[in-house]
């Protein structure tokens, strides 16, 4: 009888033990892959956050060109005067909380996050000096987002003349319209006065026509490369370190601590609750 019991227990017991170990291993593997022990990001230090893309633009251009240019696409760079860096931030950098968001201007979830969450946050917590928003471009190289890179170029050009917020807003507000036909310029022009738009046009012409720079961005997204692409690629390289696997992805910093990245759309009340819990620590 005892031998019969042993032989009847053995196979089924082994199967369940194996399954239990497998589940435990998968569960632990999934958590140990990411978590609070994230590798230190270059964004952790205030000095890096305050670092203007201009100071890193030559390095970024070099990095970007070495990272993504192929022998077929690389062209010789003409000499240029140093250009002011695009400053794609909203609010005071002395705010205790930094909200760094990686987004794609043609991504519907990014638009929803901007309009339903970031906009009320800007009107409330950014205006009150509690939150500092840092925008990072992360245009996704997918068929449905053919104009995303070009939109990012316009945003970066606008940032150079201090009109980033206006262009950022108009790109999201009119996403459906310009996504359909790629006519981004019309909406950008409508977001500012004529004088400012003329300045913006000069920046775009100077960066993307007179001084195209190495072709680091996707050529099919524009008729040629653009010097502004260096900043977009810099943002994408920063995003790969997070790592950004989808847009929108945001990372929150508070008192030198970096909180795990989160993806997707969240509502303002829920985000506000988290920000309040940070501020109360």
């Amino acid at each position: 009888m005892i031998q019969r019991m042993r032989s009847s227990r053995g196979p089924s017991g082994l199967v369940v033990v194996t399954v239990a170990i497998l589940i435990g291993g998968i569960a632990l593997r999934g958590t140990n892959r990411k978590g609070s022990r994230l590798p230190a990001s270059p964004l952790m230090t205030g000095s890096v956050l305050a670092q203007s893309p201009a100071t890193s633009a030559p390095a970024a251009a070099k990095t970007a060109s070495s990272a993504s240019a192929t022998p077929k696409q690389t062209r010789a760079r003409t000499s240029t005067e140093p250009a002011p860096p695009p400053v794609k931030v909203v609010g005071s950098k002395n705010a205790p909380i930094t909200f760094e968001v990686f987004s794609d201007y043609q991504c519907p979830s990014c638009r929803n996050l901007y309009e339903q969450t970031l906009r009320p946050m800007m009107n409330d917590y950014v205006a009150a000096g509690k939150v500092y928003i840092v925008h990072r471009d992360f245009p996704l190289p997918i068929a449905a987002h053919t104009h995303a890179y070009e939109a990012a170029r316009w945003a970066n050009a606008a940032a150079r003349i201090g009109k980033f917020e206006e262009v950022d807003a108009t790109l999201y507000d009119n996403q459906s319209a310009w996504s359909a036909d790629g006519n981004i310029e019309k909406f950008v022009a409508g977001s500012m006065g004529n004088a400012d738009f003329k300045r913006l046009e000069k920046v775009m012409a100077g960066a993307c026509m007179n001084d195209p720079g190495p072709v680091v961005g996707p050529v099919r997204f524009g008729n040629q490369g653009c010097a502004l692409d260096a900043y977009i690629e810099q943002d994408k390289n920063l995003g790969r370190q997070v790592p950004v696997q989808a847009t929108p992805t945001f990372v929150i910093y508070y008192k030198g601590q970096k909180y795990p990245a989160a993806s997707g759309f969240i509502t303002w009340p829920v985000l506000k609750q988290f920000l309040d819990s940070l501020l109360s620590q």
């Binding site: 997707g264 969240i266 609750q273």
Partner: protein
């Protein structure tokens, strides 16, 4: 008297499955409650962790805000209690049944969100766990173990009941003797 081995052969797999589920739920609760950065444990840090979990629940876009907060603040302590309950082995039929229902719900939500194309973090074992095919496989396996443990618990309970009846029927202390 010969011992019926149909209930007996469930015991060890049942024990292993129960302990595995208990460990999973205890770890899940810990991962959601622990400070998400290098700060010490405190009420404030737990509150921050729960708020962070609320963001992950919200990203599933399934529940209104009040329900999001309720789930985010009640689920981790519930998982902790469930893990302790499973560990104790007390009323295993019921703890296993609750576990199966809970894991079934998680599985359905994860599959639904993945099919909807949501690129989000699951939040099941803390932040940073991306929702993807592996997550579905993981949840499916856990659900399978929970179902097996539930069935095993009911089988053993029935087996014990049958043994009690058979012992009584052959007892020399029966009223008719």
């Amino acid at each position: 008297m010969t011992e019926n081995s149909s209930g007996g052969r469930w015991r060890i797999p049942l024990l292993v499955g129960r302990l595995a589920l208990a460990a999973i739920f205890l770890f899940a609760a810990y991962a959601k409650l622990k400070p998400q950065t290098d700060v010490p444990w405190s009420i404030a840090s737990i509150r921050t962790s729960l708020s962070m979990f609320a963001m992950q629940v919200d990203s599933f876009q399934l529940l209104p805000e009040t329900a999001v907060n309720a789930v985010a603040h009640l689920l981790p302590p519930f998982e902790l209690l469930l893990g302790i309950w499973l560990l104790s082995g007390i009323a295993l039929r019921y703890s296993a049944l609750v576990t199966t229902i809970l894991l079934g719900g998680f599985f359905a939500v994860v599959v639904r969100s993945y099919m909807a194309g949501l690129e989000i973090n699951c939040g099941c074992f803390g932040p940073g766990q991306k929702l993807g095919p592996w997550k579905i496989v993981e949840d499916g396996l856990m659900l399978a173990v929970a179902i097996a443990v539930t069935i095993g618990a009911f089988v053993i309970h029935r087996h014990r009941g049958e043994r009690a009846v058979s012992v009584e029927s052959v007892s020399p202390q029966s009223a008719d003797s």
